[in-house]
C-alpha cells in the first residue's frame, strides 16, 4: 500500500543544531500514528515541513502524493493541521471564525453555514457557536481547532500536541472523538505528543522521536517486544502464608526450563520467565496447596518503553558531549524571538 505521508531523509538545521536528523517515516491511509517525544525533539519542526510551512535542508516530504516543499498548496488542500497553540480571531464568534476558514478553503458558499454548524456539533460546541472566540477556554479552543480541521473534509489530520492543557476528562473525550472520526471517515491521523498515555489510548502505531531522530516505530506490542523481549515476562504471586526458605518447590519448577529466576521475599514469589507461563505456575501452586491472594503479570507499557529509550539516548548524549548542542539551541531559541 502506498503511504499517505512519506518522509525521506528529512533534515532541518538551525545553525549547527540539527532539529530533525535524517528522518524517515511512513504513515499509511486510515491509521492513527503517534509521534512521541520530549519537548524540543523536533516533532513540530517535522510537522511544519510536512505542510511546507518551513523548508527542509535536505530530504523530501511527500504528503497525499505531493511534495510539501514545492507544492504546499496542494498538500494544504488535503491536510487539516491543528497547531499546538491554536489561535482565533478573538473579536469574531466561533461560527464566524469557522466560516472564514471555510471560505479560505473555497467551500461552497450556499452550504457553508450549515456545514460549519454541523462540524461545531460534531466537536460539541453547538451551544457556544455564537460566543466570541476570545472568551473560550483552552479546551474549547482545542475543539474549535478540531472543527477548523474537519470543515475542509481533509484526508489527513495532523494534530500537534492536541491534548496539551486540557483536563483529564476532556482529554479522554477528545481522544475518543479523534478515534471515532478516524474510524468513521477513514481519516489518517498523525498526532504528536509527549504524553505517552494519551498516545497509548488511541494510536495504532507510534514513533519515538528523540533529538531529531526516530529511535523506533511500530505498534506498542512490537515496541515492547523489541525492547524487553530478552528480559522475558515477570509474574508476581502473593500468598497468604509466608514462604518457607529454602522453598522445596524451587528445584522442581526449575526443571520446566522456561524459568530463569525465582525470587522469594516473605509471602511474595517473583518468577522471571522466558515467555509467559503464568497460568501454569498458578495451577501448580494451587495443586500444591498454596492459598493465592494475588497474581500480577508485569506488562511493559509505553511508560517503560519511553523511559528505556530516553535513558539510552540520555546516556548517548553524555557520552558524545551533545550537551553543547542543547546549550546552543537554548541560546538560539532566545535569539529567534
Amino acid at each position: 500500500m502506498e503511504p499517505i505521508i512519506q518522509l525521506r531523509n528529512l533534515s532541518k538545521r538551525y545553525g549547527t543544531f540539527k532539529a530533525v536528523d535524517e528522518l524517515n517515516l511512513e504513515v499509511y491511509r486510515g491509521e492513527i500514528f503517534g509521534l512521541l517525544g520530549p519537548n524540543g525533539a523536533g516533532k513540530t519542526t517535522s510537522i511544519l515541513m510536512m505542510l511546507g510551512l518551513t523548508d527542509p535542508h535536505s530530504g523530501t516530504a511527500r504528503v497525499c502524493g505531493y511534495d510539501a516543499t514545492k507544492n504546499p498548496i496542494a498538500v494544504k488542500q488535503k491536510v487539516g493541521y491543528m497547531p499546538d497553540s491554536v489561535g482565533f480571531y478573538n473579536h469574531m464568534t466561533a461560527l464566524e471564525n469557522l466560516i472564514y476558514l471555510g471560505r479560505l478553503n473555497n467551500l461552497d458558499e450556499s452550504t457553508l453555514k450549515d456545514r460549519a454548524e454541523e462540524v461545531l456539533n460534531i466537536v460539541g460546541l453547538a451551544g457556544s457557536m455564537d460566543k466570541k472566540a476570545g472568551i473560550f477556554s483552552r479546551g474549547m479552543k482545542q475543539r474549535l481547532g478540531l472543527a477548523d480541521v474537519l470543515i475542509k473534509d481533509p484526508e489527513v489530520i495532523i494534530l500537534d500536541e492536541p491534548t496539551l492543557g486540557i483536563d483529564p476528562a476532556g482529554v479522554k473525550e477528545f481522544l475518543t472523538l479523534i478515534k471515532t472520526l478516524s474510524q468513521q471517515q477513514g481519516l489518517t491521523v498523525l498526532l504528536s505528543s509527549h504524553h505517552l498515555h494519551h498516545v497509548q489510548q488511541v494510536c495504532d502505531r507510534v514513533g519515538i522521536f528523540v533529538g531529531g531522530k526516530l529511535l523506533a516505530q511500530g505498534d506498542i506490542a512490537s515496541l515492547s517486544a523489541n525492547l524487553f523481549g530478552k528480559e522475558g515476562a515477570v509474574t508476581t504471586i502473593k500468598t497468604v502464608h509466608l514462604i518457607e526458605q529454602p522453598w522445596p518447590l524451587e528445584a522442581e519448577m526449575r526443571q520446566w526450563g522456561a524459568l530463569t529466576e525465582i525470587a522469594i521475599s516473605g509471602d511474595t514469589l517473583e518468577f522471571t520467565t522466558q515467555h509467559d507461563i503464568t497460568p501454569r505456575i498458578v495451577r501448580h501452586l494451587v495443586e500444591k496447596g498454596y492459598n493465592i491472594l494475588q497474581v500480577s503479570r508485569k506488562e511493559y507499557g509505553l511508560d517503560e518503553i519511553y523511559q528505556k529509550y530516553f535513558e539510552s539516548s540520555f546516556n548517548e548524549n553524555l557520552n558524545h558531549g551533545k550537551s553543547s548542542g542543547i546549550f546552543k539551541r537554548a541560546f538560539f531559541g532566545q535569539h529567534k524571538r
Binding site: 488542500q77 497553540s85 476558514l101 454541523e118 460539541g124 473534509d153
Partner: protein, 342 residues
C-alpha cells in the same frame, strides 16, 4: 461535548455521505475573502475610528479657515491661481493654521503606519498566522490583501472627504467646478494615497521583521521622523562641508549644486509628496528645481495647464511608486520562505 452520544450520531449522519463540499476551484477567491475580512476588521476597530476623527478634524478645521476668507483670496488678482476656487479651498489659509495639504503630509504617514504596523506580527502572536497559512492560500495573497484592504479604506476615506468638500463648495458658493480643478484634486488624492501606500508597505515590512507590534510601530515612526526632521538637517550639514565657496563658482555651477542638493533631499518620500501635492494644487508652479534668470525672463505669471503640471510631478509619482514597491518586495522576500511558527 456534554452529550457525546448526540454529537457522534450527528457525525455519522453527516459529512461521510456528501463527501465533497468544495466548489469548483476559483484561484483568487481567497484573496477577496481576506480583503473582505481585513476591511471589516479595520472598520470595526477603535484605531480606525480615532484616525477618521483626526482626519475629519483636520479637514473641517482647515476648510473652515479657508472658507471664511475665500472672498479675499478669490478676489486677490495678484495671485495667478486666484480663479481656482476649489484648489484655493484646499490650499489657502489665514496663517492661523497650516493648509489642508500640509496637514495631510503629517497625517498620511500616521495613517499608513497605524494601519500596517501589526499586520503580520499580531497574527503571529495570536497564533492565527499558522492557522491561516495551514489553509490552501498563497502567502503573497495574504500580504497583498493586508495592503490592499488598508489602502482601499484610506482611499475611500479621502475620496469621500474630497467629494464632500467639492459638493459643499458647490452648494455654498455656486461657483462652477472646472474640469481642470477636478483632475487636479483627484490627482492630489491619488498622490496622497501613494504617500500613504509607502508608509503602509514600510510598516507591513516592519511588522514582518519585528515580532512585537510596539517595536514595529516605533521604528516606523522613527523612520518617518528621521525623513521629515533629521534627513534635511543631515544633508545640509554634509553638503555644507563639501560645498566650495559659492563666491568662486559660476552661476551655472551654483545651479548645478542646488539641483544636486534637491535631488538628494528627494530621496525622502515626504519631499516627493510635498513637491507633487503643491504642484498639483498650485497651477502656477512651473518648476520644482531652481530656474535661471534667462528661463524666467519673459514668462508670464499664469497657471500651467493640467498636462504640464502632471509632467512636472511625474518623476515624483514614479519615485513614490518605486519606494512603495521596493518596501513591498522586501516584505515579500522576507515572508515567502519564512518559517511560520506560533
Amino acid at each position: 461535548m456534554e452529550n457525546q452520544a448526540v454529537s457522534l450520531s450527528a457525525l455519522s449522519s453527516g459529512s461521510t455521505k456528501d463527501k465533497k463540499h468544495t466548489a469548483p476551484p476559483q484561484p483568487n477567491r481567497a484573496f477577496g475573502v481576506i480583503i473582505r475580512k481585513e476591511i471589516a476588521d479595520h472598520i470595526r476597530s477603535w484605531r480606525f475610528l480615532v484616525l477618521v476623527a483626526l482626519v475629519l478634524l483636520t479637514f473641517v478645521a482647515s476648510l473652515y479657515v479657508s472658507v471664511s476668507n475665500i472672498r479675499t483670496t478669490f478676489t486677490n488678482t495678484n495671485d495667478p491661481d486666484h480663479a481656482f476656487m476649489y484648489l484655493k479651498l484646499l490650499t489657502s489659509t489665514d496663517n492661523t493654521m497650516p493648509p489642508f495639504h500640509v496637514l495631510l503630509s503629517f497625517l498620511a504617514p500616521l495613517l499608513g503606519i497605524s494601519m500596517g504596523f501589526d499586520a503580520i506580527n499580531s497574527e503571529q502572536n495570536n497564533g492565527t498566522l499558522t492557522r491561516l497559512l495551514a489553509q490552501p492560500i498563497y502567502r503573497d495573497n495574504l500580504l497583498l490583501a493586508k495592503f490592499s484592504g488598508a489602502i482601499l479604506i484610506v482611499g475611500m476615506l479621502f475620496l469621500s472627504l474630497t467629494l464632500l468638500m467639492i459638493g459643499g463648495g458647490l452648494v455654498l458658493t455656486g461657483v462652477r467646478l472646472e474640469a481642470q480643478e477636478l483632475i487636479r484634486i483627484m490627482g492630489f488624492v491619488f498622490v496622497t494615497l501613494l504617500y500613504v501606500a509607502f508608509y503602509l508597505s514600510l510598516s507591513i515590512l516592519l511588522s514582518i521583521v519585528f515580532r512585537q507590534p510596539a517595536t514595529a510601530a516605533l521604528s516606523a515612526l522613527g523612520l518617518w521622523l528621521f525623513f521629515t526632521v533629521f534627513y534635511p538637517i543631515i544633508v545640509n550639514l554634509i553638503i555644507r562641508a563639501f560645498l566650495p565657496d559659492p563666491a568662486y563658482l559660476t552661476q551655472a555651477q551654483v545651479m548645478g549644486y542646488n539641483e544636486f542638493i534637491l535631488d538628494i533631499l528627494r530621496i525622502a518620500p515626504n519631499q516627493l509628496y510635498t513637491d507633487a501635492a503643491t504642484t498639483l494644487l498650485m497651477p502656477s508652479i512651473r518648476s520644482l528645481g531652481p530656474m535661471s534668470m534667462e528661463q524666467m525672463a519673459g514668462a508670464i505669471p499664469s497657471p500651467l495647464p493640467v498636462k504640464e503640471s502632471l509632467m512636472i510631478v511625474w518623476p515624483q509619482l514614479s519615485g513614490m511608486i518605486a519606494s512603495s514597491t521596493g518596501c513591498f518586495a522586501i516584505a515579500y522576500y522576507l515572508f515567502m520562505r519564512r518559517e511560520i511558527r506560533s
